[in-house]
Amino acid sequence: MELSVTDLAVGRGGVPVLAGLSFAVAAGEALVLRGPNGSGKTTLLRCIAGLQEPMAGMVLGAEDRVAYGAHADGLKAALSVAENLEFWAAVFGQSGIEAALGAFDLDGLRARRAGQLSAGQKRRLGLARLMVTGSPVWLLDEPTVSLDAASVALFATAVRAHLEAGGAALVATHIDLGLEARVLDVTPYRARAGAIASSDEAFL
């Protein structure tokens, strides 16, 4: 019931990016990933989410239990806020979007088309999506981008509630989340050339 990563190596386009990562996130715990641009946070999250397989090592306790919030939120401009949420709730076999709407105060916007939201409002909707999935493990990639202070606070409370409910969260970010949690800096794990078999080292 916890997410654990052992000796993981991930890469993009066949080039290893991070290697030798090992950590565990227990239920009720949040882990913040930090590291300069291009250090591999997104790649790592995609790998844990199961969108790409690891180059080495393994990920435990993730399959079918994760909700992945990426740089793009997967919202349909043509659908209303409520419709978007209901859709994702249904996909994840959940129902009831009121809690999510309330948590990110989208009640006033429920009938608005997603395409007509401001950047921050869109982002809030994207985060609300996580709540309706009902997945225990949240993987968040820079969730607070273009959120104002108030919305960041909303986000922090939402995450805390999720943790108290026994969920876990793995958050990559550059800015403060208004959230006290363990921090993991990925910089030291940057893959050295030839450290692990990159897909085309057979040619070397």
């Binding site: 006033g108 088309r113 395409g115 007509q116």
Partner: protein, 257 residues
């Protein structure tokens, strides 16, 4: 174009005709006019059709099939003229930015489509006995089909766009460009194929013309269709205005809240 619009906004007030460009005023007017229009339309249609169907002799060649003309020709005429009415309305919108004219254009389109369909079907039914085929690639028929396509495109574009003003602008320009190309196609089609369809027999040159017995009830029917068209367009414009009005009110509520 909104530049034109802005300067038009400058003196919208003076000219009295444009009074009714105000949606609310327009609603009042149309409500007063509609009952009369409905009545007259019904009257003309009943008179014209009964007269045409039951009190005219059978044509010596065509037999009773000739009587389809009382639906076919008026429908065809209206189908074409509806488009021109939309064109005028679009122009008014572009130059003077009166919402009513834009909505009137939007309201006219479906009516035009129905008229087109009536003309097509009656024509097809007529074609079977006359030409022995439901459909022939005769220039007039073909260009009518093209007109139908233009209607479809126009309506589809309206449907696809959320913001009403954007929709009005885009469809207006489409209507302008479309008209030019529709006319072009008309001549292209003539060039492409010389057909079997009647020439403009309402025109006054005497050879190849419909005999007066058929001619007078036909005129009554045409009048009826014109009135019916006006009534429908006014009615639908009213609906469009009300829809837009509710939307506006809801928006305001949201902003006040």
């Amino acid at each position: 174009m909104w530049i034109a619009g802005c300067f038009a906004r400058g003196y919208e007030d003076d000219m009295s005709l444009w009074e009714y460009a105000n949606p609310v005023k327009f609603l009042g007017l149309s409500e007063r006019m509609l009952p009369w229009l409905w009545g007259l339309a019904a009257l003309c249609l009943v008179v014209g059709l009964v007269w045409g169907f039951f009190f005219t002799p059978d044509d010596f060649r065509q037999g009773s099939t000739v009587k389809i003309i009382y639906l076919h020709v008026p429908a065809a005429l209206m189908a074409i003229n509806a488009w021109f009415m939309m064109l005028v309305a679009s122009l008014i919108w572009i130059v003077r930015r009166h919402h009513v004219s834009a909505l009137a254009a939007r309201a006219a389109a479906p009516v035009g489509v129905v008229m087109t369909l009536i003309a097509l079907f009656t024509g097809a039914i007529w074609g079977q006995p006359m030409w022995g085929t439901w459909w022939a690639w005769d220039p007039r028929l073909t260009s009518f089909l093209i007109l139908f396509l233009f209607y479809l495109g126009y309506i589809a574009l309206w449907e696809a766009i959320e913001d009403p003003d954007t929709g009005a602008d885009l469809t207006a320009i489409l209507c302008l460009v479309g008209t030019v190309f529709a006319v072009l196609s008309r001549y292209a089609v003539n060039f492409w194929n010389q057909g079997l369809h009647q020439g403009a027999s309402l025109s006054l040159d005497k050879e190849e013309n419909v005999a007066d017995v058929f001619y007078q009830p036909l005129l009554v029917c045409i009048a009826g269709f014109v009135l019916l068209f006006l009534a429908l367009v006014l009615y639908r414009t009213g609906t469009e205005i009300r829809v837009r009005r509710t939307a506006a009110l809801i928006k305001r509520e949201r902003r006040l809240a």
